[in-house]
């Protein structure tokens, strides 16, 4: 952007072009930090309430999604073939309200941080521990 602006300035002898270019770069940077660059992603699993996925951007903005436990069918590790390699990602399977055996939606997790398989396996094991508890209903009361 700055190269083009300098070229324009050399042509038009108007210093406003340079300051406009600086302004545009600053605005672009702010937009990038606020909407595009994700600093950290976290997953909170509460056995009886649900699963909460948070991503926090570099500018401090946080975007959260909460999925109730009733809608969650399972948490699995999926494989995908991307260009020349195979990548693994963790995802939540949501239940179809009409068809109890079917899956209505797949929510991928950790899209920006893309942790590797060993990391994903640990997270997967902890998730499964909690999810198993909810499928055994209490006998008392």
């Amino acid at each position: 952007v700055w190269l083009a602006a300098y070229g324009l300035f050399a042509l038009s002898e108007n210093s406003m072009v340079l300051s406009a270019a600086i302004f545009i770069t600053l605005i672009g940077l702010i937009i990038y930090l606020h909407f595009v660059k994700i600093d950290q992603e976290s997953l909170l699993v509460i056995g009886s309430l649900g699963i909460q996925v948070t991503s926090s951007y570099a500018s401090g903005k946080e975007s959260t999604t909460f999925i109730e436990m009733g809608k969650v069918k399972d948490v699995v590790i999926n494989e995908a073939i991307h260009m020349q390699k195979v990548i693994y990602y963790l995802c939540i399977l949501l239940q179809d309200p009409e068809d109890p055996q079917g899956v209505s939606e797949v929510v991928p997790l950790f899209q920006s941080s893309k942790p590797r398989l060993d990391c994903l396996i640990e997270v997967y094991k902890s998730c499964q521990e909690i999810l198993e508890q909810r499928t055994t209903p209490p006998q008392s009361s």
């Binding site: 509460i46 009886s48 309430l49 959260t64 999604t65 909460f66 109730e68 809608k71 209903p137």
Partner: protein
């Protein structure tokens, strides 16, 4: 199953008492609505709860006990609280106690008829009562007044708090047998302005409804339905816009209270949109009339029209010569060129005839901008259409000529090859022609073929001009649509009170201590701006491109007349 207690954060510092709320057994969660303080008579409490249940249709009951002891733990109080469990017999009886100023509370449950008494895990979730009461979950579930068995947990909780508004109307200054603590117990919130507006709005609505019915009666009368007038009304976009706004006014001024959330938001959106529209229109009007700009505008209008006509004449002269080095058929060129030149001459004299009245007309037309900015924009679009009417005429002439030529050419080309179009079977069949038919056909074909570049050029030039005008008009209409359909009230609500439009909730884990229940803070996750606009968009008579690019190009090639913007009828919702 894990027991979840939803505790309002406003009751954290309340005195000891019993907690009342709703117990959702299928989710094993307790929604605490208020704390009832000592002293109370259990019979009166049950009576009060029965009344409340009838009023709100929410199954409110005494859920447990709450003890807030400023000093050390009092043994007698805890026994007393346990005895209360027998009086109010709720299964399970929840006991929450807070010591001093500690943040960590201890929670326990008492189960009487349980086969295997075990320590149940309890999760404490704090929520802001006022915000949850006022917020609406999206997407809204269509539940009737009865219980929805498959309602999600969160909507059940929101529903409970929202329907218990009656409970929150008693504050601590009320002289009753019951002393409650909830978010409004310091004093019921009300605002004088809102009350005054509510009182004033009823007669205003009646008046407005009366006026509007009169107006719509006049509009629909038979006088205006005769053929030339109705054709005119349908062509002018201003009338459509005015009709649209009239309908909006009718919706806003109707006397029935809005039943559901969506209806309320729609009414509010229409009202705010109308207000902003009229305000912007007044602003525009004041700017126009400030320094007699209307006079200046009218003065510059005639020279601009003249200038446009002169440019067109120059263009035609250029076409009549050798445009872009192409050699035209001299005779046809002159004919077409002279025809169009005469047309322009007529147009110019018409404009000059009108010129003394232009200023007055513009002045009165400008007054109608006070009806709203959208009306002013529509008038602008109509004025542009009227001023460029001659371009439209030229386009129609050129297109018809070109179309005829293309059809003739295609049919004669078939004759050239010995084929014919079979109308019955809609396909091309071979046919044997007589010699003189073939001779004349070939002659005509050659003539048309060599005259093609001339007509094609004229057609191209006028089509481009017409497309330019159409694009400008389309942009104006898009702007009008934007102003019409933007849900401003919802956007402002999302900006200032984001908890009212909720897409969901978010939980935050608070500090933990071993042995104490898990503490979570439940906050409302507001809807994103894009979702707000999508949910609450106002329906408009929007105009969008009728044809796809491919069919547009095909029509242009064949010379069919194009009307690229299609106006939908009123959307029925």
């Amino acid at each position: 199953m894990v027991l979840k207690v939803f505790f309002p954060s406003c009751c954290s510092s309340a005195d000891s008492g019993v907690v009342i709320g709703r117990w959702l057994s299928e989710q094993s969660s307790a929604v605490v609505l208020a704390v009832l303080h000592f002293p109370f008579i259990p019979l009166q409490v049950k009576h009060y709860l029965g009344e409340l249940q009838r009023a709100t249709k929410v199954k409110v009951s005494v859920l447990g006990s709450w003890s807030n002891s400023k000093q050390e733990k009092e043994e007698r109080l805890s026994e007393f609280l346990e005895d209360l469990g027998t009086i109010f017999c709720h299964e399970p009886w929840i006991q929450i106690s807070k010591e001093g100023d500690s943040k960590f509370w201890s929670c326990s449950t008492l189960q009487k008829n349980s086969n295997n008494p075990k320590e149940e895990e309890i999760i404490l979730v704090y929520y802001d009562q006022r915000k949850v009461m006022l917020s609406h979950l999206h997407p809204p579930l269509h539940t009737a007044d009865g219980r929805a068995e498959d309602a999600s947990r969160l909507s059940a909780i929101f529903d409970t708090v929202a329907r218990s508004r009656v409970l929150f109307l008693t504050d601590r200054y009320d002289e009753g047998p019951i002393r409650l603590t909830h978010w409004q117990s310091e004093g019921v919130e009300a605002s004088i302005l809102v009350e005054l507006l509510k009182q004033a709005s009823v007669p205003a609505c009646l008046l407005l409804t009366g006026l509007l019915s009169l107006l719509s009666g006049i509009c629909r009368s038979r006088v205006l339905k005769f053929w030339p007038l109705s054709f005119l009304w349908s062509k002018l976009s201003t009338c459509e816009q005015l009709g649209h706004r009239l309908q909006h006014l009718q919706v806003v001024s109707s006397n029935r209270k809005a039943q559901t959330q969506t209806q309320l938001m729609r009414k509010a959106n229409i009202f705010v949109s109308l207000l902003i529209d009229v305000a912007l229109g007044m602003l525009l009007m004041s700017w126009l009339y400030r320094k007699n700009r209307i006079g200046h505008l009218a003065d510059t209008l005639i020279p601009v029209a003249d200038h446009v006509a002169e440019e067109l004449q120059d263009l035609l002269q250029w076409l009549m010569g050798a445009p872009a080095g192409l050699k035209m058929n001299r005779a046809l060129d002159q004919v077409l060129g002279r025809f169009f030149l005469y047309h322009i001459h007529l147009w110019i004299s018409y404009i000059h005839l009108m010129s003394p009245f232009i200023e007055m007309i513009l002045w009165y037309v400008g007054l109608s901008a006070c009806l709203g900015l959208t009306v002013a924009l529509c008038i602008l679009s109509d004025i542009i259409a009227l001023l460029t009417f001659h371009i439209y005429c030229f386009y129609v002439y050129g297109a018809r000529l070109y179309c005829l030529k293309i059809y003739g050419l295609s049919s004669l080309w078939r004759l050239f090859r010995g084929k014919k179009w079979n109308v019955l079977r809609e396909r091309v069949d071979s046919c044997s022609y007589d010699l003189d038919q073939l001779f004349i056909g070939t002659l005509l074909f050659t003539i048309l073929l060599f005259l093609l570049p001339t007509t094609a050029l004229y057609y191209l030039v006028f089509t481009l001009l017409r497309l330019l005008v159409v694009i400008v008009q389309g942009l104006i209409h898009l702007l009008v649509d934007l102003i019409d359909s933007l849900p401003l009230y919802s956007l402002i609500l999302r900006l200032c009170r984001p908890y009212r439009l909720a897409a969901g909730v978010k939980f935050r884990v608070l500090e933990q201590q071993d042995g104490k229940p898990l503490r979570l803070l439940m906050q409302i996750n507001p809807l994103s701006y894009g979702a707000v606009v999508q949910t609450y968009r106002l329906p408009t008579y929007s105009c969008y491109p009728r044809d796809s690019w491919a069919s547009l190009c095909k029509k242009l090639f064949l010379g069919e007349l194009i009307y690229p913007w299609k106006h939908k009828g009123e959307k029925q919702d």
